[in-house]
Symmetry: C2
Subunit: 180 residues, 2 copies
DNA sequence: CGAGTATAGGTGCACGTGCACCTATGTGTG
DNA sequence: CACACATAGGTGCACGTGCACCTATACTCG
């Protein structure tokens, strides 16, 4: 279960509330993991029951109380064990490729629409990634920057592949409609 | 639900048994989707109940009976509807990046091990993909070839990124141990 | 004054997924 | 002769995931 470890990882950087973690999954780590808030709260419950985290209630004025969670030694050990364990085999699931593979049924026009839509989406997520800056002044920063660069290079490779694929299929370049 | 559509897609190419589909998911379409056999049989049940496929029992000698499934008109319509629908937003989940992001805790040696292991795995899957040949003499073939090329370019981009990342982190090239 | 949004923490529930396991037969390996 | 493996089709079950929904307060916008 990756979410558990992702949460432990985030808490290893700094203590956080469930709500904070929710923002992290919607932002800074969104390019490699996603989690619903309801899921985060449930996972925090399990981590707490397992003794991997401790919780401190912080009162605020004008805002609801925060439950700030911190790693315990057991939690840190769980995290390093996971980081040191062999990589699990990844069963890649790529919905877009699944469509394209069977897209002959919707004809050249359908395929063209599919490729253009994909181009827009990837281009958009590329712009989002490109707007992020990371202070890479220590190991943590360097690794976070490397993770971000991974997203960037795959997005660029995907766009290049889309252009090539359009050529192979004899589909014209779109007129960069509303580009930017 | 993608599996349903992937199965409809495979059946749009040719009729097949659940067992055949299992081999497809372990082979020809493995680079973009994965499915357990138990899951395939259950999905076929649902598709049958929904009238999207018909089933014919084919007796064989020396081997168990086969239940060969074929697309109905309703099934073909379901498939083209899906192919024509807007792309769903993809919540990417990349376990490897999740590890790397938090890998500062296991030190430079740990990170080195992680990157090397990743390199081996990607290199292996690249070799698998590169060994596949597809007859691209019609639209279906061209699209399948494009899908395959997508896997290839991302694998190559990943290897290149791994080499760059090793340099950025000041990790030496591995001695191409058992290079192949 | 009501609507919407941010903050904060949840519950309920349906469902897809994946692992373990089962039946049955034929063929090949040690 | 026992064992594993391919063929073929399943069942049971635990569990993670995601969507909808709920409570409560404070602030802003029209």
């Amino acid at each position: 279960m990756e979410l558990k470890h992702a949460i432990l990882g985030l808490l290893s950087i700094r203590s956080a509330s469930g709500y904070d973690l929710g923002r992290a999954f919607a932002g800074s780590v969104a390019h490699f993991w996603h989690a619903d808030r309801s899921q985060i709260y449930r996972t925090l419950d399990r981590l707490s029951a397992a003794g991997a985290i401790t919780t401190e209630v912080v009162r605020q004025d004008g805002k609801p109380d925060r439950k700030v969670h911190s790693l315990t030694e057991a939690g840190r050990e769980e995290l390093t064990d996971w980081l040191s364990s062999p990589l699990e085999v990844e069963h890649s699931k790529e919905p877009f490729l699944a469509r394209l593979f069977f897209a002959a049924l919707i004809g050249r026009e359908g395929v063209e629409r599919l490729l253009n839509e994909r181009y827009r989406e990837v281009n958009e997520s590329l712009a989002e990634l490109a707007s992020i800056t990371i202070k890479a002044d220590d190991m943590t920063g360097l690794l976070q920057a490397a993770t971000l660069r991974n997203g960037l290079i795959h997005a660029k490779a995907e766009l290049e592949w889309l252009r090539e694929t359009r050529q192979v299929l004899g589909i014209a370049e779109p007129p960069e409609s509303s580009g930017e």
